[in-house]
């Protein structure tokens, strides 16, 4: 549960520092370190320079897309295919930014002021922002998100370099374990944030639909997983709300007049 440690007072700098603290004590600090050690080692395997590897973390900041780029950029790379694969693997960034913005934006926020906070957005930052931002006054929410985002992005970039130089020393299983930490952390952190039927249903439907669509060979399977799974979950949520409302409006005496 988000503790109201940082209540209604304080400054924007205080909110930023609060974000830094939340990031460093989050499960995602561990997840990002582990992920990017694996990613740095992968870049070394594929012959990229350490500067390139670190810059790719700063610029892309999306684990699965980075892995696709590195493994897809070999000799005889299919440029367009790789670009499409990178893009499709990052579709989730669109709804997480849309879902977060109305919660953190101020009346007078200009779009260009949101480019940097939006760049920090990744599932890790989103999960912590959705947990903690509602407990903060609106004017502190963007500094808070920036604190979480910049901290995790910096950790990711530094540990890309660490992994790059540790490559030879890493056990054989490390690469597999580092790649597995993305799905397991996404799963449990999203489940932790899922408080209402809407999110629980969306989580379950996404887990079920993705393999069905992928094995059926449907193009853009992740995109459809999101749209179909999300829409079904939303409809389920509406249906549940409708039932609760009609149960509330029809008390015991009116229900007795029902046929």
């Amino acid at each position: 549960m988000p503790e109201p440690a940082f209540a209604t007072s304080g400054t924007a700098a205080g909110a930023f520092l609060h974000g830094t603290r939340v990031a460093l004590t989050s499960v995602f600090a561990f997840v990002i370190v582990f992920t990017y050690i694996g990613y740095g080692a992968l870049c070394h395997d594929y012959g990229f320079s350490v500067g390139w590897a670190m810059l790719s973390t700063v610029l892309q900041w999306a684990g699965p897309a980075q892995v696709i780029l590195v493994t897809g950029l070999g000799p005889g790379a299919l440029v367009l295919e790789t670009a499409i694969a990178v893009s499709l693997s990052s579709v989730r960034l669109l709804p997480i930014v849309v879902a977060l913005l109305p919660m953190v934006r101020r009346e007078n926020s200009r779009p260009w002021q949101l480019v940097i906070p939006a760049h920090f957005m990744a599932v890790s930052v989103w999960v912590e922002a959705m947990r903690h931002a509602p407990t903060l006054p609106r004017e502190h929410r963007i500094p808070f998100c920036n604190g979480v985002g910049l901290t995790l992005l910096t950790l990711g970039t530094v540990f890309t370099a660490v992994g790059y130089y540790m490559q030879a020393a890493l056990p054989a299983l490390f690469g597999a374990a580092a790649m597995f930490i993305t799905p397991i952390s996404f799963l449990v952190s999203t489940a932790r944030n899922a408080r209402i039927l809407l999110e629980k249903a969306a989580l379950a439907l996404g887990l079920l639909l993705a393999p069905v669509l992928a094995y059926a060979g449907v193009g853009f399977d992740l995109l459809w997983t999101g749209v179909i799974g999300g829409t079904l979950a939303y409809l389920l949520h509406r249906w549940q709300r409708h039932r609760q409302r009609s149960a509330k409006s029809s008390g015991p005496e009116s229900s007795s007049t029902m046929p």
């Binding site: 499960v27 670009a83 939006a118 957005m121 397991i184 449990v188 996404g206 639909l209 992740l222």
Partner: protein, 112 residues
């Protein structure tokens, strides 16, 4: 291949832009929306389903080194991690550690 420039150009054009464009589109589409609107609820559901889709996809159709770990081990590690999360005070940390421990133990026991 012009060695020095090519990887950086590729990073910009096929790494950064195709991924970052979603964030920019998110800023544009999220601008006029109300925090408590119905459409935001729908978008939250889509985001959650998409994240779940990423989970399923990486476990079932894994990239690189993870493909060397048998499918059964990957599934048991994911399921076991989730159960650990549920039963150990809904701690994400417990879930991640248990999942990783199962994956590593399974890979060592049943080969990679």
């Amino acid at each position: 291949m012009s060695f020095a420039m090519e990887p950086y150009l590729a990073l910009l054009l096929i790494g950064f832009l195709p991924s970052e464009a979603w964030r920019w589109l998110g800023i544009v589409l999220g601008r006029g929306l109300d925090e408590n609107s119905e459409i935001i609820l729908w978008v939250r559901a889509v985001a959650t389903a998409l994240i779940a889709g990423v989970v399923a996809r990486i476990v079932l159709i894994p990239p690189g080194a993870l493909a060397g770990v048998p499918l059964s081990v990957r599934l048991v590690a994911l399921g076991g991690g989730f159960l650990a999360f549920l039963f150990i005070r809904r701690s994400a940390f417990a879930g991640v550690l248990a999942g990783e421990a199962l994956l590593i133990a399974g890979a060592l026991a049943f080969g990679t």
